[in-house]
Symmetry: C2
DNA sequence: GACAAGATGTTGCATGTACATGTATCCTTC
DNA sequence: GAAGGATACATGTACATGCAACATCTTGTC
């Protein structure tokens, strides 16, 4: 379920292997926790998060695709799932009839807020564990969390 | 195809979003490069790498699963693909008849060596680009590359 | 030896994703 | 205002993955 050892190659590849290891472990834990405790997947949760973060609680398909890191077709199906679950509704764009807005529903906002707590807790725990297992990682994460953008 | 902006949430989640962003971008570039220039996927490449790194050029299914970060069933199919491509052969474990060794072939070793160059170059370029786009990332990667275990 | 319990892989099935393509709409130019 | 091309999504298809059920083999115990 999780990568175990780095293959002895170049320094660069070894460094990246560290990132992969971390990513796999943490994402697996997040996905499992969200699925079991809130019945939603990681992509769904993140899509809800981006919608919730939008001032108008809505995003167009391509915007959402960029933000969640999926391609456009995957987002079509993702939004379909959100719609089935009642967390979002599709709304045709009035001025551009090609466009489709995905609008967050109240149910969606609520579920996201609930799941956020789990997400935070799980992330916190997973990263803390990783830090303990690998002090270098702690340093790297600290460097990253010096807040950006 | 790649995440664009961080959703305004907690610091922790924002930090993790950074990692996700990096991961998606780099892995996509690696996968595309390997597929187009060598006709193999990322999982296949990494499996070959772990096999090549093994002193005996062979690993059992569960070991391989741990190393590449997939579960057993996925590895069964992964090894089947490697077998079809001629990069590995299955070998029954003589002393434990439940076990199956996946043995790297010469063709597999060769292909991995070739692909490694692409992998290194692409990784180098992708990380360099990411560094330029985000100075914090540079610091974090430096902290990580202070070589571990 | 025989049986129970555990370990090791494999297979059936469902899901999620990417790629290629289709359809509708918009925009630019003439 | 019609033609040509670009853009925004949807759909068909293929494939990789995870989970659960299964078969096979080993080990421990009697």
């Amino acid at each position: 379920m999780t990568p175990a050892a780095a293959p002895p190659v170049s320094d660069l590849a070894a460094t990246w292997q560290h990132v992969l290891l971390l990513h796999t472990r943490v994402e697996n834990r997040l996905a499992t926790a969200l699925q079991r405790r809130h019945g939603i997947g990681l992509s769904e949760f993140r899509a809800l998060g981006h919608l919730a973060a939008s001032p108008t609680s809505e995003l167009r398909m391509q915007e959402l695709a960029d933000k969640v890191g999926l391609n456009q077709s995957s987002v079509t199906r993702l939004v379909a799932r959100l719609g089935t679950a009642g967390f979002a509704v599709r709304d045709l764009c009035p001025d551009d009839k090609r466009g489709v807005y995905t609008v967050l529903t109240e149910a969606g906002r609520t579920r996201h807020a609930e799941a956020s707590r789990t997400y935070e807790e799980t992330l916190e725990a997973a990263l803390e564990e990783a830090r303990r297992a690998d002090p270098q990682l702690a340093a790297a994460l600290t460097a990253l969390s010096a807040h950006a953008s």
